[in-house]
């Protein structure tokens, strides 16, 4: 079974600084999709950013960007200019097919004012 590992259960960052959340995954497939989801306290989980494995270019969404290293099976999330509203649980997810999906255990991000 494919696994997704988030090695940092908790992270903290000072407001306006940059933080990187780590994610590694295990797969023998070449075609798949990777996602970062954000779950704010008591609120619904939402998509942060998506990366297609066939694309070499790293995805970027405003202050959020990824470092996708396909050979290393690594997919880290960088949050620049951190804001108080970025405080949340962040989940890394691997999708290959509707019956082949995995989520990591999550990283709780605290943003200090």
């Amino acid at each position: 079974a494919q696994t997704v590992t988030q090695s940092q259960p908790e992270m903290s960052v000072q407001e306006a600084e940059t933080v990187t959340l780590s994610c590694t995954y295990d797969t023998s497939e070449s075609d798949y999709y990777l996602f970062w989801y954000k779950q704010p306290p008591s609120r619904q989980m939402i998509l942060v950013i998506r990366q297609e494995a066939y694309k070499q270019q790293n995805a970027t969404e405003n202050r959020f960007s990824v470092n996708f290293q396909k050979a290393a099976k690594s997919f880290s999330l960088k949050i620049s200019d951190s804001q108080l509203g970025d405080a949340a649980m962040y989940f890394c997810a691997y999708h290959r097919a509707f019956n082949d999906m995995r989520f990591g255990a999550g990283t709780r991000l605290t943003v200090k004012p």
Partner: protein, 113 residues
């Protein structure tokens, strides 16, 4: 504005009771999912459905069943609730292609006494 709604935010049941958790989406998504979220374990897939009346077991189906009689509605059933089923339950939906993000409901926090 896309929406996935769940019938209850909080639920308290007794051991042995039959429990129904309902999920409704208004996005005409083919896929619907039920996850269980526990601290340190991330999201674990209980069941998913890719079409009406179709269902597939996820990673932890034991003790659960599901029903999908209409495309927009996906129900999770605990036939005889047990204390180890105390957890947060998340429903999600998506279009059938794995490149698509999942949209999540707000979650139901179930306590079994």
């Amino acid at each position: 504005d896309v929406k996935v709604t769940q019938s209850s935010r909080y639920l308290v049941k007794r051991t042995g009771e039959k429990v129904f958790l309902e999920c409704v989406q208004d996005m005409d998504h083919e896929n619907m999912f039920w996850y269980r979220q526990d601290p340190g374990l991330g999201l674990r897939l209980i069941y998913f459905s890719y079409d009406v009346k179709m269902k597939e077991k996820g990673d932890i189906p034991e003790g659960y069943s599901v029903s999908r009689e209409k495309k927009e509605r996906f129900s999770l059933i605990l036939e005889s609730a047990s204390t180890n089923q105390t957890s947060m339950y998340l429903c999600a939906s998506s279009f059938i292609d794995p490149s698509n993000e999942q949209f999540f409901g707000p979650g139901t926090r179930l306590t079994v006494l």
